[in-house]
Symmetry: C3
Subunit: 345 residues, 3 copies
């Protein structure tokens, strides 16, 4: 048997109630369908209940409502999805950072790398940059001159942080992300474009996750700001001078044009596009694929569509859209029947 945690140990740490044999030990997290012996799975949505009967998991996490839905050893709790996340973090902790600078890294002598930090092969750390305690700079990453990487932050392979940009503590930046490239700013000059120097920075708060190949541009004059706890998925573009409010989560392929202020605790679905200079209130939810062309001033509202409108309105529009053909037929019939159509008077 692999090392792991007995259910009794887990509830002692995380709360909840063990039901059935609480001496059962689990060593990894799994889905109901993918689980085998030694794994713990979870049920958070009623539609997966059928999978409970067939799972090979050694134990299951479920809500009060599903307390008796299985005879497996189980933990009953209030929020099974969050509880499962905590158990998974317990069973699969982030690897410890083995400190040291790889001999094939290139660290400028004026840069500061904390003794407990790690710098992988082919990473390049330029003049005056500062790497915090326990930070981990992945292979082939580039930390520009004067940039700051906070304590405990991990950059995977090939992350690019331009000069002067700052990332806070406990962050996670995935491969290929680019922090601090020039914003897209040009003044028209008799048929050509005159580049506007982009002299702002990118300031990223604490506990931020940034996805693979996502790009966040530096400010033109002031800074682009990503507040604490923001979660960004892959292939997102955040243009210069945006501010993304704390704990907002943004799914993949989203594009946010310049000088947009997104509120705190928002949820933005995949492939949403937000026009420049707009404001989005706190706790706004934007459905995937929406195109936001006006500011959203009502906190907590749910919007959808292109142009984005309150969710319910958009749902009816899409139904009507697919019935446009029938509306047209009804109109033509009325015109014929009443003799009052175009060209009839």
């Amino acid at each position: 048997m692999q090392a792991g945690y007995r259910l009794a140990e887990i509830v002692a740490r995380l709360g909840g109630e063990a039901v059935g044999d609480d001496a059962v030990a689990v060593s990894r997290a799994a889905s109901l369908n993918g689980a085998g012996p030694g794994a713990i799975a979870f049920l958070s949505q009623a539609r997966h209940r059928a999978d409970l009967a067939s799972t090979r998991a050694s134990a299951v996490i479920l809500g009060q409502d599903a307390r008796d839905a299985t005879s497996l050893p189980r933990i009953v709790c209030d929020e099974p999805y969050l509880y499962f996340a905590r158990v998974s973090a317990l069973l699969h902790p982030a690897p410890a950072v083995a400190p040291g600078v790889h001999p094939q890294a290139a660290v400028d002598p004026t840069a500061t790398v904390a003794a407990s930090a790690r710098v992988d092969a082919c990473a390049v750390i330029e003049a005056e940059a500062r790497i915090g305690e326990g930070a981990w700079i992945g292979p082939g990453s580039w930390i520009g001159s004067g940039a700051v990487i906070g304590p405990g932050t991990r950059l995977y392979g090939g992350v690019r942080v331009y000069p002067g940009c700052e990332i806070g503590a406990r962050g996670l930046v995935h491969a290929g992300a680019v922090i601090g490239a020039d914003g897209f700013g040009f003044a028209p000059d008799r048929g050509t474009w005159f580049k506007i120097p982009q002299v702002g920075r990118v300031l990223v708060g604490d506990d931020v996750e940034i996805g693979a190949n996502t790009t966040i541009d530096r400010g033109a004059l002031d800074d682009t700001v990503i507040e604490d706890g923001v979660k960004l998925d892959n292939l997102i573009q955040i243009a210069h001078n945006c501010r993304i409010g704390a704990h907002t989560a943004i799914a993949a392929c989203v594009g946010i044009a310049g000088s947009v202020a997104v509120g705190r605790h928002c949820m933005i679905g995949g492939a949403v596009m937000i026009n420049g200079h707009l404001s989005i209130a706190d706790r706004v939810v934007i459905s995937g694929g929406s195109g936001v062309t006006k500011s959203i001033t009502e906190p907590g509202i749910h919007v959808s569509g292109a142009p984005a409108a309150p969710e319910r309105e958009w749902r009816r529009t899409t139904v009507l859209l697919r019935n446009l053909d029938r509306m047209n037929d009804r109109l033509r019939r009325l015109e014929r029947a009443t003799g009052k159509g175009e060209g009839h008077d």
Copy 2:
């Protein structure tokens, strides 16, 4: 004259019929308009027939229907586009892999690199990773610990393969692609987000091509799977736990949310967005720019639009959309003429 192949040699290898002087030699593939002496071009669509008269190609590939459309030396065959592809592969073979590890690469002593494989400068290969026979790891690429690159697979510059992910044989991965970054999984936790460890892998089959800066996330619990023969263009996002069926081709800028199952032999146009947890049947064709919000269960169907609907339906909708203004005018006219409009009773 450059070395090359005489038409007689080509038809001996690939079939088809040489018409005219089959001793003519060709050394490179070209378009009808771009061709010069020594080049072979092709005609596969009637609309390019006018270019036949002016081409400077030494020989042409065409279908039976166009057999007599030129007096140039030519190869007549059933599928001129496929035939041309084969001739081009003959004239422009992939460069042979010169084996060896560049002295400025960083290969962990516990990694396995086949003797016939090549590792370029500034590539980083971590512990326990395995590089197959004839594989080619491009400059600045990162192969995470325990990852596997199959025989004959080529990674261009700056490809990132996270720990534990596997790519099969004869693959081609373009610059900046990221395989195996964390999926976007967080449980809400009293206003903040609790990260769900992403413990699955990415498994890529044989003969897969992955475009530049495309991202494929590792599974949350189970694996993300790209089956054999899949072709992915640039800047595509494939989220955690997706399965892309064999020989499906996906154009650039597509976003596929989590846990989507795409069938085999599908064709997905550029910038298509597919919502999470959907299934797409085999041989489905999705037009560029479509937004798929429901599963597509009918194999071989062609869908378009946002939300995506069968192609013919969507075409009529878009025509009607551009006539909405006129429909509105017709409705107003009827209301006035009948005296039965809003506010009239």
Copy 3:
């Protein structure tokens, strides 16, 4: 006081009229709101006039119409935004290029690097590549065999230039951009895909800026061409065989399919998608989020929407779209009132 320029010096160089104390010196460009002592700000849009009263800038640039809108030392000119850009370039010049090849770069002995060029750590320059005078190759970039980087061009970290591609003079390429990956070309072959060798190149003109993680594919047979003065934002995909006309500006997240010819002096908004084989005339403006499915032949036209149509038409369509529900109600009312609806005759 920081070194800088007195207003009198600035107008001597750039024209315009100094009003108030022209001995005031400024050392950095700032926004009205972000400015402090020593900064020069600008006003180009009437809606920001209120910020003039509260700015802490030492001097301001404004148009003739706003000549008396402040008592601060100021420069009055015809195009304040362009003038400000020039002042900013004066105050924040691009850093001088310190020549030399970093000992941890990997430069093939057959490559040519100009004496005044700079090659950073972990950059890889392959056989026969040529790096021009004053060019700067950033850390971890890859210049493939035979590729050419023009004089004065700067590549930031991790730029990938495939073999044979060429970039002109005074260019700026941001981190993670990929120039010259294979176009997405496959011939169907009995249920699988046969790769068509992509033997064209990418040719980039002079004074081109390319954004972070943008991808430009090499031509299939002929070349992909980016003409002089083109400005490309982040995360753009330009497929094989496209031609982008001189001085065209393209915002982030745009996807342009294969063989598209975009004219000169066009402006393409964010997230626009352009179908393959289309032509766009000169000076066309395409609103963000539009889907272009037909060629645009009228120079200077402004189009919007999906499918894209002339801007005014699309604005009315979107208004009507949000009123579809009401149109449907009006239609139903008419049907009832006249007794001529479906199923009534």
